[in-house]
Symmetry: none
């Protein structure tokens, strides 16, 4: 449960609950509900009641600051029918905190050491808001500050170890298979036999994302090694059917996979971008160390740049247009030559919303990959939406590049 | 309410609810609770019941995909005690969708057109999962796909307009003043007198964002025109104090403002990017019609590209290094010359996390703007975080460009 108007009103991105969800999942505690309420005692009390009626563990973040609108502690007192009292250890820590910074400790700060009588004090090594641990009828309520690094430190150092001794959770393991170039439903029908044959304790989820579909297997049990080998077995079992579309596993991003592939081949890459306007280069260079295989890009938005810098023949632009197989091929070959790289990839299309024509409507995009032995092209028919077209084109041109590299290696 | 195990397990960041929270706040609807549940009928049913007991409006996202783990529709049927039936409009749209892409429509896709009998169909212009609108005892339940751009389009085009006619929230008007180059607290002290003098029904919020601070005035009342003129008056009143740092209003993005400025001057722009790796070009080309003033970019990640394509003297690279005033100046002048543009801007720095040195630690970044009459440079000392440094550098180099254009015009 997160507490704070700023979350409900959309003024901040709540990253705490995602982090907590991941940590709980990793230790085999299954999160079943996430709730955000405002800085309002009634709403908090109601949410506390509903939550404890449902679950064995409730983790609360936020509302522990020194200011008036932070009411979590008082509300917890009301909920547990107890009152606040100064915790000496907490007080000591807070005054040390201000001494170290040579700042005066105000009464507001002193009050941060006041905790509900029935809680166990959890020391916050990074700030002045203490953590609190409550036990009630075999259930646990934990209250933590909302400041991410304070919360994370408290979770890792104090909360998770206690939880694992209090509950004996089942073990949960995940395996994510990342595919590109196949639709969610086509994929689903193709692997239905497999999905239906999965054992009860292994669940499958489809996570579609900009032309990609991620298959997430979630296995629950009590033997870590067995779960790992079961996930490996199931992955191996379906791989022959979907191999063609799989580009990575778990946290592999496409640009990371491409980078590794290029490095293992001691190969280099450059890009020539028209409709993607530099987004492909941006994706590639968002990976630390990209300079080991990525030399650069020519964003050829204007046809003069396509001609003068990339060497696209004016005749091609006149005869076939900028959005054509001929132009995108010479763009890819041009940048490959200009930057002396093993591979050159190029994009040219009508990103939209304007600029479409009957023959080439918005969403018509050509991509190309020039490799040492050949130049491969593909035409894409995408959406009416500029941002989406740019994202999708970047994904597909990296996919094309991967396939070209593998072909090249196979020779 | 968001539906999906991947949210509870922390596998994706939920940005939908933040966006929805902002939109609702903007139209005067107060969000009181945010709930996430897994792909589990029981939990969803429980959450639906709890929510409708509490609120007049419930917006649900997620769980509308074609696959087995997407159970929102069936669960809604159970909740409303009705059943699914094919909606012909939805079916038409879905088959058109697949025809346009030349992909076969599977039975799973066809089933996406099956909607609960008691719902009003909301057309999804961007995908195959329809939106649904339910009315029950004067309360509204809306169910939307979880894919952010589909959800946002449905909210803006279909849901918000209906909500405003169904509920009659008080009128809320916003005025955003966008500043760059001044810190939040300095700004706050400077305009405190003004903030304190604002009428009760006009609230001020500070929204810092990557080197920018946005001042958002929110006026609540029942007379739209009066609110508008009050906001205009307050904006005018503070402008003399902050003019120097203001680059735009409301939804003006920096790249939009730069674009307009270039067009009014009949001027053109090209970029030479090292540490930003194409992100500046991407920002510029994310604006429709950018081709009218943006010719292109050279992403010079490799020093050879800096020398061969941009004409940076090898001597400069040897004497001063790639991250230096000399190099970034010649990069800006080089691309301006290469692409025959009025202005050329350049970036070169240590984005991190690696590559820092005692003299040039991570976050040391040089930017330059070459204009017809002079070349202006600036050194930035930013953070340790690659993504943040790339974002900030793009913002600051566009700020530098704006100032150079205004200088040039003033001559």
């Amino acid at each position: 449960m997160t507490i704070g108007d700023e979350i409900l009103f959309g003024q901040i991105t709540d990253t705490n609950t995602q982090w907590i969800g991941t940590e709980l999942t990793n230790v085999g505690i299954r999160a079943t509900r996430k709730t955000s309420v405002g800085d309002n005692a009634e709403d908090i009390l109601a949410a506390l009641g509903e939550a404890l009626a449902r679950v064995d563990l409730l983790i609360i973040t936020g509302g522990l600051g020194p200011t008036k609108d932070d009411i979590t502690k008082h509300t917890l007192c009301k909920f547990f029918d107890t009152e606040l009292e100064i915790n000496e250890d907490a007080l000591q820590l807070i005054s040390d905190f201000f001494n170290r910074r040579g700042r005066p400790m105000t009464e507001l700060n002193r009050q941060q050491a006041a905790l509900p009588k029935n809680c166990t004090y959890l020391q916050n090594d990074w700030g002045t808001a203490p953590g609190m641990w409550f036990e009630i009828d075999g259930k646990i309520v934990v209250s933590l500050p909302g400041v991410p690094f304070e919360m994370k430190n408290l979770m890792t150092q104090r909360v998770l170890p206690r939880l694992l001794t209090f509950f004996k959770p089942p073990i949960i393991r995940h395996k994510v298979i990342r595919t590109i170039g196949i639709g969610e439903s086509t994929l689903a029908e193709m692997i239905e036999f497999w999905e239906d044959s999965l054992p009860q304790h292994i669940r499958l989820a489809y996570l579609p994302h900009f032309g990609q579909v991620r298959l997430r297997l979630t296995a629950t049990g009590d033997d870590e090694n067995q779960l790992a080998s079961e996930l490996a077995y199931e992955t191996e079992r379906i791989m022959p059917v979907i191999k063609k579309w799989v580009y990575g596993y778990d946290h592999d991003e496409m640009e990371t996979v491409v980078g590794k592939l290029l490095m293992t081949q001691h190969a280099t890459l450059s890009t020539a971008e028209s409709c993607t306007g530099g987004f492909v280069a941006h994706k590639l260079t968002s990976i630390p160390g990209a300079s080991r295989y990525f030399t650069g890009s020519v964003v050829a938005y204007d046809n003069d740049v396509k001609m003068n810098t990339l060497g696209v023949p004016m005749a091609d632009l006149l005869d076939y247009g900028a959005v054509s197989e001929q132009t995108v091929s010479t763009m890819a070959e041009g940048v490959r030559k200009l930057m002396h790289t093993t591979y050159g990839i190029a994009t040219s299309g009508v990103a939209g919303p304007d600029g479409g024509s009957p023959e080439k409507p918005v969403g018509t995009i050509w991509i190309a990959c020039a490799s040492p032995s050949r130049t491969t092209t593909r035409m894409l028919t995408l959406t009416k939406h500029r941002a989406v077209n740019i994202e999708l084109t970047a994904t597909y041109v990296l996919d094309l590049l991967m396939k070209c590299i593998l072909e090249e290696v196979a020779q």
